[in-house]
Every structure is written in C-alpha cells, then in structure tokens.
C-alpha cells in the first residue's frame, strides 16, 4: 500500500499545482515593463537565436534552430515571411515593415478560442493600424518578455487587456514622435488612422512603413504619457472579423502541433499502464523491435508524477502508423499491485450510502436547523453527474529534439510556461536549455493545461538520437485523460410562506486522491453556491477516494454545479408558487451575508469589479433571455420553457430554452436563446462562435456524454462509445450580448454552465419530470 499512498500523494500534489496555476491565471499581466523589450530577432536575446517558421517548397513546415549564427534568419522560401533586417520592431508586440505591413505578435496559445485574432485587434486598435495590412503571428514563448502566456480560465482577455493596449499605444506614440521630428511639428498636432500619421494643419501624411526606421530610434514612451482610447473612439473593436489563420486553415496548411515536421525525425507512441500506477513486469520488446519500420522500443521508468511521465513503454518507428501497429502487437504484463482499482459504480454506491450522514460542515451561516424547522415548506433533492472526457479533436502530440545540450520542443499546450518549467525540472536543465515552440492546438477545453504529453516526449527524446514526434492514438487520449470528475449533491431548501428562500443546505460528495484535498474540478463551486445563497446556509463536503486522473474541463466545477444549483432553484421557486425569473431576481438582489467576489489568488488586494458577481448584470442577462425567448407567453400543449443563470469565469450568462418532449422522451429543441455580459465585445464573430459552440457543447455533454471507470480503467475507448453531438442534432443558438461598461472579460467558458439547467428546467415545464442527473440519457432522454 505504501506505493499506492505515494501515488495518492503525487496525485494530490499534482492537483494542488493545477489549482495554483489556475488561480495564477487571474493575475493581470505586467504593464508596459514587458512592452519595453524587443521582440525576437533583436539583439537583446544575445547570441542564442530564435526559431523561425518557414513554409518550404513542398508544403512542409520546417522549424530550424540556429545555435551558431546568432541570427534569427528564416529559412528560405518562406511564404510571406520577411527577414527581420527590413522590419523595425517597436516593441515585443509590434513590428512594422517598409511596405506598411504591421506584424503583431499574439502571446497566448490559440486553441480555438480566437485569441490570436482578438489580441491582434486589441493591439491594432490602439496602434490605429490598417487591419487589412496586419499580420498576426504567434509570439515565441518568452515569459521574461511577455509574462504569463497561458490559455485557460477565460482569462487571456482580462489579463492581457492593459498590457496589449499599452503595447499598441506605445508603438503608435513612437510613430507619431518620428513624424513630429520629421516634419518639425508638435506631436500634439498629429493624428493617426489606418497605419498613417496625419498632420491635418499641413495635409502631410506618412505611412507607418515610411516612419518605421525613425520610430524605432525614438525613446520608449512612459506609460503615464500614453492615452488609451475611450470605447467610443474604437474603430476596430466590436465588429465581425474572420480569424487571422482562416485562409491557412481552409487550405490545409500545417499549423497544428501534430503537423510539425523536423528533418530527420522519427515517430513515437507511448503505452502507459491501463490503470494508473501500474509498472511493467515484462513485455515482448524483442518481438516489437523486430517489426519492419520499428527503430526501438524501451521502458521508461517515469517520474511517478501523474502530470509528468508515468511508467510505460516507448515505441520508436519510421512513421506514425508503424508505432500504432507495433502498439497493437505489444504485449505487456503489468504489475498492478499499486495501481488504481477505481470503480465508479462502486463509488456511486458509497456516495449513496453517505446520504444523511452529514460531516462537520465546512460552512455554517445563521441557524439552518431552526430555519428548516420554521419553514413553510422544505424541499429536498438529490443531484448527481458523471465523469466526462475532453476529446479535443487533435490527439496529444509533441515533437522533441535533444541536441546540442538543448531540449527543443514543438507542442500545442495551453500552458507553455509550465510545460517549459516542468521539462526543466525533470531534465535538470536551465531555462535557456529548454525551448518550447507554441503551435496551434486542435482544441483544448482544459485538457492541454496538462503537459504530461510534453514531458513524455522530452523523456523519450533524451533516449533517441534524432528529433522525435510523439503521437497518441485516440484510444490513448481516452485512457489517459484528465477527466471532468463526477459528483453527488444532497440538497435541502426551506421556503417562507410567501415563497422566499430562507435556508439552504448542500452536502457535496466529491472525490479526493488523499482523502483530504479535492481532485481538480471537485469541491464546491463558489459561484454556483455562494455563501449568501440564503440567510441560513450550511455546506458540508465528504470525499471519496479516487485515483483516476481528473483535471480542468471547460468551466471547471461551474459546468456541473450550475446544473445542480439552478435546477434546484427552479424546484424551490416551483414549490413556492413563484415566477422563476422573479425568484431569480430576488435571489440576485438578496441582502449579502458576505460580499461575493471572485476568489483570486491570496494577497492580490481588491478584486476587479469587472470580474466580480454583480446583481445588476445578473438581472440584466436573465431579463434579456426571458424577453427574447418570450418568457411567460402561453405555449402550445406539450411545450415547455426553461431558463437558468450562471456567473462563471467573470461572465454573467443566461440561457432560455423552449422544447417539446415526445412520449418516448425524445426532445425537440424549438428555440435556444443565449445571453452574456462580458463587457465590450472584441470580435463579434468570434464571440458569437464561443456562445454557440459552448451552448452546443453543453447540450452534447448534458444529453449523452459520460465515461465510466472500472478496475482503474476508463472503459470508453473511442468515439463509437462516446457520442459527441453531430450536425444533424445541432440546433440553432441565438446569441445576444449585453456590452456593459465593465472591462472586457473572456468568453471561452461563461456561455457553457447555464445551458444544462435551462434544458432540465424546460423538461420539467414540458413534462413535469425533474432531471436531477447528468447525462440526461441516463433517464432515457434523447435528441
């Protein structure tokens, strides 16, 4: 058992690290300090040069690392890639070419959330750039220059908002200063528009390209002198833009991590224990090594950290398919003495046995027992939800090359900074010896907050005398995901005679690797169940042991617990004979027992109001959803409407859903209305995509998706056992934005959590049946 306990400890520590990273995402990025530095290609990087992407003839993506020249030369033949010598870098975000092309570096990973276009637009807005002449490129991973470069928690926009705008404004100020000097006029007489500096007094104009050389010689402006635009001055932000990489995407250019080609590279797959924590007793490696095309096969002991490298077998071959074929032929005897024995069916029975066995409450406000005793009505309900997988469509892959004492990595992570740090720690290398190239990711959904596949590739590459591309099979992704954890809630609510919520109790049965600290995604969601939910509130948490790896999944905790809290709210309003929208409004405006704020990292001072729960914003999103959907109108027989609210990842959101349900529980979606307030919209096209995509993702997951675990093994192996929604079942989703005057916040997650409860409430309205479990197909519902 000792090793099992070690694994528990490792798992718990790993979960702590993940939670800390997610919390860290809420720090705003540094201001102009980082902007003062130059982008790659400048001398500031010293002798060690940086990588250039170049599309060579033949369409392959080749990334060449020049250790020797000290120059950041692109490979020849680069389509549209101009050499740095002709361009002027005004700061780490902005480069201007003589032909007036502006290159903007997007520092964050692009995972489908549209951040590359959004970051380009934010910088271009303050720069007053001509968007048609702007190119946006992925910035290199250089935390010393850019600060944090992660993508997670819908935080990229709020974190980067000041830094990016200052980057654009600083570059603009330098271009203006250059024109002022050239024309010998005060800078205050100059205006800018569409990559031009204008002197209205004399009618003189100069393009940014013409001014770039002189601008680059100007002193870097002081932050205090930069005047950022008022919202009414925006020329770019808020309109519809097609994504900056769309032409490359629709012509099949190699943008993704899995598309990386490094000359001379080999291919790898990695077989881990089917139950986490198993070790290799024996394997037919000699047979595998004899297979045609197989170059090598070997055991890696791993680090024992579930977030890094667990024990397994690496297969090295001349192409991807041979690694897969060899994997099929691999016969391993695993020692599972210390491996996970998790059984979700067994754990569900344990959870049911805990009903009514309330542990010492974690939170106790008011006198809950007295309030229940004097309540006009008491409502009790049990909710639960299963475990789900990420299934980002691009399987995990990473290319790694150990050469010249440097570990060079190409990957599509959501956390390049921690990926680099983890490899540094694992290989005991300093930062300058681990170079990580950020590639576009074929989906993230939180899975790529983990860097296990990055660490695996690096560990494998240490033993291979060539660049090596690790590619997981889809089956590997199912078996080794960091799943969204399930949970069980035993709820009790008390209502006064006039239907007001007087007391609330939530007993959550969650999961923990060490019996104490919840696994990632477990534990109470503070947004769904705020402490001022009611005048008298009690929360209690029981933890069941779980070794199965769990992690962040789009809108962690909120993605399931709003289903619970908003469904139960509807049970309460119904029991109280109240109109649900009115009941919600009363709840939003409840007298606070304690101020509800987004819980940021400790010691960060006052929370940002734009990221805090705001009753007025909450009321406005629900009211708009109700109005658009026609809440309260008489519906035809057999139809029902549901509405729900969420405040998640700083966004206030509401869904209203109108459905009918057939006798055999087939649901027809007549109308879906989605509303968010995330402040001013950056790119309306992308914002609408996130609303529609998150809503359909929520529909797909709420209706049909679940993974099961028995004997430590995830039972589902591929898409035939995991029916993600397809186009024939995809409804239309109306997206509505309330563009309040708060600072903009992210939209990868906020439009997800309120959909499932809205649908569950609609099912009740249509049928009188409560849905208290996810996925809904457990109760026989289908689309």
């Amino acid at each position: 058992m000792q090793q099992y306990e070690q694994l528990s400890e490792q798992m718990a520590r790993f979960n702590d690290a993940l939670q800390a990273t997610i919390a860290g995402f809420q720090n705003p990025d540094a201001g102009l300090e980082s902007v003062r530095q130059s982008a790659p290609g400048a001398g500031s990087l010293g002798r060690r040069s940086f990588l250039k992407l170049a599309g060579l003839a033949g369409g392959g993506l080749v990334l060449a690392f020049r250790l020797d020249t000290g120059k950041a030369d692109a490979e020849s033949g680069a389509a549209g890639n101009h050499g740095p010598s002709a361009d002027q870098e005004l700061n780490a975000f902005v480069r201007v070419a003589p032909d007036n092309t502006v290159t903007i570096y997007s520092k964050a990973p692009e995972i489908g959330q549209g951040i590359k276009t959004a970051f380009g637009l934010i910088i271009a807005e303050e720069l007053d750039a001509d968007w048609s002449k702007v190119k946006v490129e992925q910035a290199p991973i250089m935390p010393k220059i850019y600060g944090s470069q992660g993508a997670g928690g819908s935080t990229s926009i709020p974190r980067g908002w000041d830094q990016l705008r200052q980057g654009g404004a600083a570059a603009r100020a330098m271009l203006v200063a250059a024109a002022a000097q050239k024309w010998n006029v005060p800078a205050s007489e100059l205006t800018t528009s569409a990559s031009l500096v204008n002197h209205p007094g004399s009618g003189r104009k100069a393009t940014y390209g013409e001014l770039a050389n002189a601008a680059a010689a100007m002193p870097l402006p002081d932050t205090a002198t930069l005047k950022l635009k008022d919202r009414k001055e925006y020329k770019l932000l808020g309109k519809r833009y097609t994504g900056v990489d769309n032409r490359k995407l629709v012509t099949g250019q190699p943008l993704f991590g899995i598309d990386v080609t490094v000359p001379g590279m080999l291919y790898a797959n990695y077989q881990m224990s089917p139950a986490i924590g198993g070790t290799v007793k024996s394997a037919n490696l000699d047979e595998i090594k004899k297979m045609p095309g197989v170059v090598d096969a070997f055991v890696l002991d791993g680090t024992g950290n579930p977030g890094e490298v667990m024990t397994g077998i690496a297969i090295i071959a001349k192409n991807t398919w041979t690694t897969f074929k060899a994997k099929d032929a691999l016969k391993v005897e695993w020692d599972e003495t210390n491996a996970s024995k998790d059984s979700l069916t067994g754990l569900a029975l344990q959870a049911k046995a805990l009903k009514g066995k309330l542990p010492a409450p974690a939170t106790n406000i008011g006198d809950v027992d007295a309030a229940f005793a004097s309540a006009a009505k008491v409502v009790e309900a049990d909710y639960d939800y299963g475990m789900v997988s990420h299934v980002q469509l691009e399987p995990q892959s990473t290319t790694a090359w150990w050469h010249d004492g440097v570990m060079e990595i190409w990957t599509q992570t959501q956390q390049p900074n921690s990926g680099q740090s983890m490899v540094m720690a694992m290989l005991k290398l300093p930062q300058e010896k681990v170079i990580l190239h950020q590639m576009r990711a074929g989906g993230g959904f939180g899975r790529r907050l983990q860097n296990d596949y990055v660490c695996q590739a690096a560990a494998i590459a240490m033993k291979v005398n060539a660049p090596v591309k690790l590619t997981w099979k889809r089956e590997d992704d199912f078996a080794n995901d960091f799943n969204r954890v399930g949970g069980f809630h035993y709820l009790k609510g008390g209502l006064s005679k006039d239907g007001k919520l007087t007391a609330f109790q939530n007993h959550l049965i969650g999961f923990s690797a060490d019996g104490n600290r919840p696994v990632a995604g477990s534990g109470r969601s503070n947004g769904c169940f705020p402490t001022d939910f009611a005048p008298n509130v009690r929360y209690a948490l029981s933890n069941l042991p779980l070794m199965t790896r769990c992690g962040a999944w789009r809108a962690p905790t909120d993605n399931v617990q709003y289903f619970v809290s908003q469904g139960f709210m509807h049970e309460l309003s119904t029991a109280g004979g109240r109109d649900h929208v009115e009941f919600l409004e009363e709840w939003f405006n409840r007298p606070p027992a304690k101020e509800v704020v987004r819980e940021g990292p400790p010691g960060q001072g006052t929370p940002d109001p734009s990221q805090s729960f705001n009753p007025a914003r909450a009321v406005s999103v629900v009211k708009l959803a109700a109005e658009k959907a026609g809440w309260g109108k008489k519906l035809p027989a057999g139809r029902g409407m549901g509405i729900a609210f969420s405040w998640s990842h700083a966004g206030h959101a509401s869904h209203a859903v109108e459905i009918s349900v057939s006798a055999n529980k087939k649901i027809t979606l007549h109308r879906i209305v989605a509303v968010v307030d995330v402040g001013p919209v950056i790119n309306l096209s992308s914002a609408e995509q996130q609303m529609q995509g998150a809503t359909i993702d929520a529909l797909s997951t709420a209706m049909n998706l679940e993974v099961t675990v028995e004997n430590g093994r995830v039972q589902e192996t591929n898409l035939h056992e995991y029916p993600i929604l397809r186009i024939a079942d995809a409804p239309h989703v109306e997206a509505h934005f309330i563009q309040s005057e708060f600072r903009p916040t992210g939209l990868g997650e906020p439009a997800y959590p309120s959909f499932a409860p809205a649908l569950a409430n609609a099912i009740f309205a249509a049928t009188g049946q409560r849905v208290r479990t996810m996925p809904f197909n457990r109760l026989g519902y289908s689309l």
Binding site: N246, I258, E394, S686, A687, L719, H732
Partner: protein, 162 residues
C-alpha cells in the same frame, strides 16, 4: 513496396506497406498535413479526402486500395483559386480550432458535386460523419448554403444584439 498514387493531380510514389492507411502515407510520407488524424476508426471525419470525387475516410483506406484520383484539402484550390466552399468558410469565419475543417470542406465539396443546391436535411445527412468538437455546425450549414447559392449571400449568421 512502391505504390503509385494520384494526389492533387500529380502522380506520386510511396514506398510503404500496402496496408498503411492513406492518411499516414499522405501525412508522413508525402508531407501533406491537411488530412488530420482524429480517431483512426472512421468516426470523426477529420481525415476526409476525395477519391474520384467521393468523400472517403483516409484513415480506413489502405494505400493499396487508393487507386482513384485523390484530392486533399491542399489540392482543392486550383491554380491558386479557392473553391467556393473555402471562400465561404473564410467569409463566415466558420473555424474555431479549425482541426476538423479540412475534412468538413471536402465532405461538403462531395455533397455539392451531387446536390448543387442542398437542403438543410441533405447537408445534415452528408455532413453527419464529420465531427466538430468545437460545434461550429451552425456556420458549417450556412457556409455550404452560401457556397451553393452565393446570390443568397448570408447577411451574417448572427442574431446578436449588441
């Protein structure tokens, strides 16, 4: 052994086992990365290519059976001119992560070849084998309609009120 393939209007030779799926010959041998690996069992459609105009799953098609004229997403545009679907995909900003979109466009191209003005039902039937994990389905439908009937150019997909 060497196999001759016709890919994007060129004859090429790959020296691989005949059972190797076309997907991996394209990606690893011919360095055409447009066809994507998603599931390996024909369930996601990310690996879709055209063979003699029909949308096929290259992950399930052995090289030895790839005897027709193959068009990958890299070869859909001819002489630098994008296919109407590619134009519509850009115009309507269909992609989120973009990983599945090459396969989506090729399935749509096969659909339009058969039904130049498809109904929503025909679109849903023809496109149901192509999974989009980001759920861009609403725009995929609109983009196919726009490519098929450009005179009915969509005035934005949005119902957005702002």
């Amino acid at each position: 052994m060497p196999y001759q393939l016709n890919v994007n209007r060129k004859t090429v030779t790959v020296d691989v086992p005949g059972e190797m799926p076309l997907l991996w010959a394209l990606r690893d041998e011919l360095d055409l990365k447009g066809a994507k690996y998603g599931c390996g069992v024909g369930m996601c459609g990310a690996c879709t290519v055209l063979m003699d105009g029909k949308a096929i799953r290259s992950c399930l098609t052995p090289v030895s059976e790839a005897k027709g004229k193959i068009v990958t997403i890299e070869g859909l545009a001819e002489n630098g001119k994008l296919h109407a679907l590619q134009e519509a995909w850009i115009d309507l900003d269909v992609a989120q992560c973009g990983y599945c979109q090459g396969g989506q466009i090729l399935s749509a191209a096969a659909l339009l070849a058969e039904h130049p003005k498809p109904t929503d039902a025909q679109i849903d039937e023809a496109m149901n084998g192509n999974l989009c994990r980001c759920a861009t389905y609403i725009r995929i439908r609109e983009a196919i309609h726009q490519a098929a009937e450009p005179e009915k150019k969509m005035e934005g997909v949005s119902h957005a009120t702002v």
